[in-house]
Symmetry: C2
Subunit: 292 residues, 2 copies
């Protein structure tokens, strides 16, 4: 199936400036995104949160896109209303106007350039392999499939995924990451152009995938308050091996808490600011080689 239309979305979280300012650039210079085999729209997903410099106004927009929620007329938070607008504009989910949605995010974790794939579909794996051949620093993180009714924005379309870049504090731009993200988006558009034209050859080198295992929360007291921080020896070590006996957290009193499980894991989203309230200090993944 050809991809006739692509939506590039940024500012889904209003304080993730990298994507938001890329969108503003492309809205000012739409010719940059022009391709011959498909049309591209650049869209600021949550302008009100961007204006306020906050992740969201009432609730996380990137959790608002289940069919249930989109069809629920009683949900009236700002982000619920905005999700319905975006569903009209890009969707409706199930019969979308856009065949592919790319959602640009940033993180305070040291994740470099990361493609977050929603599932093991070979379309994504081929795309990821193409991108890593162009940008070897790109990491590929495969989240748990949410099944048929994902709550992510990109789930409006049949195909789509998120880019996650960091480390960059919320509410700031780091020019180096801005330019790396931009180059990666252009590579994705090139890929889709080649895909539409049948010009792609299947990748034959293995692809390194980091498959989601589980979310790990901070140690908390019975009121839900933090009792420890990410250990200095783990801070910034996203995508690096964490073995039994390695330092994981350190309490405010200075006591180290070690990783006690026997399974070696590769943590990501270590110390992501937005995840403190969501009960996540990091996500553990398993590093895997996939032969395409």
């Amino acid at each position: 199936m050809q991809i006739g239309s692509v939506a590039i979305v940024g500012g889904t979280h209003g304080n993730e400036f990298t994507g938001a300012y890329l969108i503003k650039k492309w809205q000012k210079h739409p010719e940059i995104l022009k391709k011959t085999s498909f049309q591209t729209l650049a869209l600021l997903a949550n302008p009100q949160a961007f204006q306020a410099g906050r992740r969201y106004i009432d609730r996380d927009l990137n959790r608002c896109f289940t069919l249930n929620d989109l069809q629920n007329p009683t949900l009236s938070a700002w982000e619920d209303k905005r999700a319905k607008e975006l569903n009209q504009l890009l969707g409706p989910k199930g019969h979308p106007k856009f065949d592919f949605i790319l959602d640009l995010h940033s993180t305070t974790a040291n994740m470099g350039l990361t493609a977050i794939l929603p599932g093991p579909d070979s379309f994504y794996l081929q795309l990821a392999a193409y991108l890593t051949s162009i940008e070897p620093a790109l990491k590929v993180y495969q989240t748990l499939s949410q099944g048929e009714d994902s709550y992510y924005l990109e789930s409006i379309s049949e195909r789509g995924f998120a880019l996650e870049v960091g480390p960059v504090p919320q509410g700031t731009l780091h020019a180096g990451l801005f330019q790396q993200t931009e180059a990666l988006v252009y590579a994705i558009l090139d890929y889709i152009e080649k895909y539409n034209r049948g010009e792609l050859t299947a990748a034959n080198s293995p692809l390194t995938l980091y498959r989601h295992l589980k979310v790990v929360d901070y140690p908390r007291n019975q009121n839900g308050e933090l009792e420890a921080m990410v250990h200095p020896q783990l801070q910034g070590r996203d995508y690096q091996e964490l073995k039994k006996g390695d330092p994981l957290f350190i309490t405010f009193e200075g006591e180290t808490i070690y990783y006690e499980e026997s399974e070696t894991v590769w943590p990501v989203f270590i110390n992501e600011a937005a995840y403190y309230e969501q009960g996540a200090a990091m996500c553990h993944t398993k590093k895997t080689e996939v032969y395409l």
Copy 2:
């Protein structure tokens, strides 16, 4: 004049977690702060903003402490009300209950450990010299004096200053910086104890001061929107020399903007998240040696 009471304040900005969680630690373990010659209070300045994970609810609390504003009954924003409460608790400004206020801040800029001194008073210079003898990495930044009626929280007391630590994204804890800040606070309390007991000898080595020159904003269009980012070659280079011809900004289109002034400066607060809305990309300072 002896210092009979010290208030250590954190979370004046609710998303600056380093200070806020240090305060929570000391509220749980007040014995840590016990000294013989003075009493110490640990206080979370803006609990509502901390709860919300935001710098402020309505307006920046650390701009609410002029006498004019404190005495103005018509100001009713959350932070204006909280400023009046804090003024009752710690002040009132002019005749304060607390002789010294230490206000703990954090920044997304690469400022390491910084003491921000409100003026050239020899008490501050001696204290700064003592602290740098214990923690050589400490930088000393002297802001422009605001004259008699400063809007900063610490101006409630006769004496006080702010610690600024970074880089750390808003809404996160970096354990290494948490522990360094903690050690610095204990050194300040030790100093006050020695000061009260007359046990101090005047510092005789020169002190390096970074004196505030001016605030430099991002290039913006006529609507006030950003047109450029901090240049990658300047990012993270707080307290390093910036000379005529060095890269300063880079536009979204990739054009470098150079520093064109003839005066060599030492920038600080480079790319601080909270200052985007305040019209500041960085502050320029002049590095000076002071002989005490």
